[in-house]
């Protein structure tokens, strides 16, 4: 691969990283905390590309055009078959720029077992003030299963997630938990009962208000517990910018 081609390729990849960082769409792919790393990487790649292009242009203006054309402009190593593999970097860059793939959601949530066990903490502090109190789905499920609902009893909670089909005709509220990137996304699931409208579509984002009740399913995939919430009101909402919890 020629040096100037490599430079353009790096410009494309670095520019893509900067674009998804600045546009905010990077939260579909990695944890929000990765932003500084993405920006730094984007800047470095663009810098490498610019330095290379400048060096290349200088070489062309000083050296005889004839010599530059074939050999000097080639990369130093002559494993052409190997360096051609670099072209593959075009694929993720174009996928990001042209298609802006959506966040992972219902497909992975249905396939994978609820990821509650990861948070098997024993101490749960009292819920913060608020009526209803807005908490994460993971927090709710953890308190319901491992705290046996103690810190939830008598409180009204507000939860946000998307709908997936559940067991026994009850829909589940689900949310993907991401530790690093969407490749490690695992779902946490909570069953909905009470004032739940019929005909909720899979993947529809909703905000529910409700109370804890002592009921649970076993996840068909990994046999972990899926706690329930007794819904008093349910509102369909647009998908949030950051669809993951962490």
């Amino acid at each position: 691969m020629r040096r100037d081609a490599q430079a353009v390729l790096l410009l494309l990849v670095g520019g893509t990283l900067l674009k998804i960082s600045l546009a905010g769409t990077y939260v579909r792919y990695v944890k929000a905390g990765q932003l500084p790393l993405l920006l730094a990487a984007g800047v470095v790649l663009v810098a490498v590309a610019v330095v290379t292009l400048i060096a290349e242009l200088r070489a062309r203006s000083t050296v005889d055009d004839h010599a530059v054309d074939d050999h000097a402009a080639d990369d130093h190593d002559h494993h052409h078959g190997e360096s051609r593999v670099g072209w593959l970097l075009v694929v993720p860059a174009l996928a990001l720029l042209l298609f802006a793939p959506p966040a992972v959601g219902a497909f992975q949530a249905n396939r994978n077992g609820t990821a509650l066990s990861a948070q098997a903490d024993t101490d749960y502090p009292p819920l913060p003030a608020g009526d209803p109190v807005t908490i994460s789905l993971l927090d709710y499920a953890g308190r319901a299963v491992f705290d046996h609902g103690n810190s939830l009893a008598g409180r009204t909670v507000r939860l946000t997630g998307f709908i997936i089909p559940g067991a026994g005709g009850h829909p589940y509220l689900a949310r993907m938990i991401v530790a690093c990137c969407a490749a490690d996304a695992r779902p946490v699931k909570v069953g909905l009962t009470g004032e739940v409208p019929v005909g909720l579509k899979q993947e529809q984002w909703v905000q529910v208000t409700g109370t804890w009740l002592d009921q649970a399913d076993h996840d068909a995939v990994n046999n972990e517990l899926i706690p329930y919430v007794a819904v008093s009101s349910l509102e369909e909402i647009a998908a949030p910018d950051n669809q993951y919890e962490s």
């Binding site: 081609a5 792919y29 530790a179 990994n222």
Partner: protein, 332 residues
């Protein structure tokens, strides 16, 4: 989305050329992608295909900053650190240098994508391959970021952190020593002559950065795509059926670690959620993952050659399982 991102193609493409060059090809690709967008979108309409694409680009977006970090570090080593620095820093006996280099891996706070180019640079700077490999294998598993995330994922079980540290360092050292006994230099792709001898200083720095990102990045794409494909096709339910069997469960999680290619900073959270498996099986997952996985294998092919990778990766796989089971039996 605008075409702004690809604008820089133009000034280069405008240059006089007698035949079609790679830059023109790249420009053509972008145009085809833009025009054929509707058709391509239709191809990826199913939820499975969409998830595959998202997981694929996610692995890339996650890995690229670490690849860049590793590349910059390796370029700095190649360009600015004199060979004698490593001669002084590491024990002269290769047998002793192996575990020291493995332990030194703790200073690179990056996942496995960063350690491949750095290990390559160490070898170019005259570090014995055995020691460089110990660094390569140990670094993604024993650096502080990874150990802390392991502690967070396994609350109240500090022995898991200790077991991961011990088993990973031990596996890395075993592989380094094995290389001393059995390794053949001929398996490794020859060191690039130009970079290490004629260029020094900033010119070498930029050349090395550019070359490593393009080369390792290309192989990373192959690995990321393979991992994404498997992650949306292998049914998680299969795991359930083997969890109860002590031997199969270790093998199953070791294979899973290879296939999923999860970043070493995140794998502890996944391991923690595989609660139906024994702690030893999950330790095997944590030891194998940062040392052998699809994207790492692809990158090793890129950096050290395929003759090396087809021997090194399977051996590492076996060694990691063996050490993980032994350490797990003693510590967990």
């Amino acid at each position: 989305m605008t075409v702004v991102d690809v604008e820089p193609v133009e000034p280069v493409a405008k240059r006089r050329r007698r035949r079609l060059g790679s830059v023109e090809l790249l420009a053509a690709l972008v145009v085809v992608g833009l025009l054929g967008r509707g058709v391509l979108l239709g191809l990826f309409d199913s939820p499975r295909a969409q998830t595959l694409v998202t997981v694929f680009v996610s692995v890339m977006v996650q890995a690229l900053p670490f690849l860049v970090l590793g590349t910059v570090l390796s370029a700095a080593i190649t360009a600015f650190v004199p060979t004698r620095f490593f001669e002084r820093a590491l024990p002269r006996q290769a047998v002793a240098a192996v575990p020291v280099a493995g332990l030194a891996g703790a200073v690179l706070p990056a996942c496995e994508c960063g350690s491949v180019p750095v290990a390559g640079a160490l070898m170019r700077r005259g570090v014995a391959p055995a020691a460089a490999f110990a660094f390569l294998l140990a670094s993604p598993a024993i650096n502080p970021v990874v150990l802390v995330s392991t502690a967070v994922a396994f609350p109240g079980q500090p022995k898991m952190v200790l077991a991961r540290f011990v088993a990973s360092l031990l596996t890395a050292s075993v592989m380094g020593w094995l290389w001393l006994r059995l390794g053949r230099p001929g398996w490794l792709r020859p060191v690039r002559v130009t970079d290490s001898h004629t260029e020094r200083g900033w010119a070498a720095f930029w050349t090395s950065c550019r070359h490593d990102v393009v080369q390792a990045g290309g192989f990373l794409v192959i690995g990321a795509f393979a991992a994404a494909t498997l992650s949306v096709t292998v049914p998680p339910r299969w795991l359930e059926t083997v969890a109860a069997n002590p031997v199969l469960s270790v093998l199953a999680l070791a294979v899973l670690a290879v296939l999923l290619s999860i970043c070493s900073e995140a794998d502890a959270f996944v391991a923690a959620s595989l609660s139906q498996f024994s702690l030893t099986a999950r330790l095997a997952f944590l030891v194998v993952g940062p040392m052998v996985d699809l994207k790492l294998f692809a990158m090793q092919v890129g950096s050290f050659g395929s003759r090396f990778a087809v021997r090194f990766a399977p051996t590492t796989f076996v060694a990691a399982i063996g050490v993980a089971v032994a350490v797990g039996t003693v510590l967990l």
